[in-house]
Amino acid sequence: MPLFSFVIRRLLQMIPTVIFILVVTFVLVRMLPGDPASAMLGDRARDADVNRINHELGLDQPLIVQFFYFAERVVTGDLGNSIGLKVSVASLIADRLPVTLMLTVMSAVIALVLSVPLAFVAAMKREKLADSVIRGTFQVGLSMPVFYVGIILLTVFAAQWKLFPVGGYGTTLPDKLYHLFLPALTLALSFAAVLMRNLRASIINVMNAEYVDFAIAKGLRSRVIMIKHILRNALISTVTLFGLQIGTLFGGAVITETVFAVPGAGRLLIDSIYGRDYPVLQGLTISLAVLVSLTFLVTDILQAWLDPRIAR
């Protein structure tokens, strides 16, 4: 089965990627000015205290020693303990990452639900009023910063109309979805704009293909022509873009979580940067990187399924 070996091959290709990310994360984290001890003790810390804490954390060792120590633990699945919060990084991530994951998945779904039908309408009514309105609206959405859109939605839908909570996170699943809706929508708008634009162009391109004429000549129903012949082919390039944009979406999640006070990985990431909490920072970066790599894998599989010419 070609698809199966394709997946195995892609999984193996992820190994060097992860190693690379491990190194980059380790180096980048240590390139931040300051260190955990200074962050913990504040501006008036005495050098002796700083040195003592750094020694306890093993941060006075040569970098290369620190790296192998770090890599060895990561390989065994141990991400260490948070310097500031005194709990294991793994449990912190297990707590916060699913929130971010849910937020991004929700916003990806919203973006798809918004962009696919609208891209279709825009492509069908090319250069007509509907097309201009759809493209114009998305263009406005695209040109506004995420935090600004978030604040507007928050003010209108949550503060004034009280349709949604102002922030936070629920306990039950429906409650969580309800709390995450506005942040997910915020995040989805610019994503939807990018997808819509790409899909519209792609649909217009595919509509002119000979095989669409042939499908019409076969007397197929227009629903079949649109979904099986036009959309299926048009989605191939959009799925690539979708995968590439997932990283951006995680980045946007950090900002959105801050605006809507969602206790997700984004907030944790910012806190750990301020606290120079190296283990948390490293753990989170690696988890996010693996997550993004997995999304790439999923989009690759999706693409191989959409386009049989790839998985060979």
Partner: protein, 341 residues
Amino acid sequence: MTASTVPTSLPQTAPGLLVRGLTTTFDTSRGVAIAAADVDFDVAPGEVVGLVGESGSGKSVTLRSIMRLIREPGKVTGRVEWGGRDLVAMPAEELRRVRGGEIAMIFQEPMTALNPVLPIGAQIEENLVAHTDLNRRQRRERALELMNIVGIPAPERRLDEYPHQFSGGMRQRAMIAIALACSPKLLLADEPTTALDVTIQDQILKLLLDLRDRMAMSVVLVTHDLGVVAATCDRMAVMYAGRIVETGTVADVFACPNHPYTRGLLGSVPRSGQSRTMLQSIDGTPPNLTDLPDGCAFHPRCSFATEICLKQRPPLDLVGTDGRRAACHHHERVAAAEPIL
């Protein structure tokens, strides 16, 4: 020469295809291109009509216009009657049932006409979904049967393969299988055998003739190959710059061309008519469709041309029996000229 057992002239009420004044224009940046102009022809049930002409003469455009496949900014006027109904004015759902069900089309380029992301089997079966009530198993059986009919080996496996896994010849056959899926009454075949080698070409043409005999299927066969016309067609129409310039039974036209362009085309075929030579180009180039010469469009390349040919366009007039027509002011002179075959 022709294998026809079907009468070649029919009363106006007969079922079949009746094309009248079909005109297709495209708005281009260089002006309005008239790709098909005032095209008239009939196809009786069970009849095979050959459509020949140089590249760019409007053969594909004519077939597409019949199927209403011309898109904006193209414009189609005229009448296309099928079984007494006008396809040009037909409502969408009725037209959908005619397309693929009653009239099928084989596209010129199978590489681009097949959907690259669907298995061949699915592309055959979706025709059956659109026009029959066959269930899944019956559709699969019919697809297998069609693959056998067009001579694709290992059909079980091939049904699940994609167009890119097929060779050029096999793609062409798959295309034909798709077109034949719902046993159409009329097949518009745009150069169905061009990509195939001679033996396979013969098989496919035999197959088409066989279907014609068994199911009274009519065929419009576009080809560059006059040998193919001689071997398979009952009647033929010659196109030049978007117009039909000569039409009649294959025997009549071959025996005595009435248009200088037809005469030129036939001049390139060896006397025996057996060897398959491609149409040899006649001196000069086809005219620009956005800027056709006044009078007869062929006059700049014509050795028979006189004053009148530069001023007045010759109508496609009857020049004999059996629907024999030619559009030439000097058709008598052309017919009387030294025979070329």
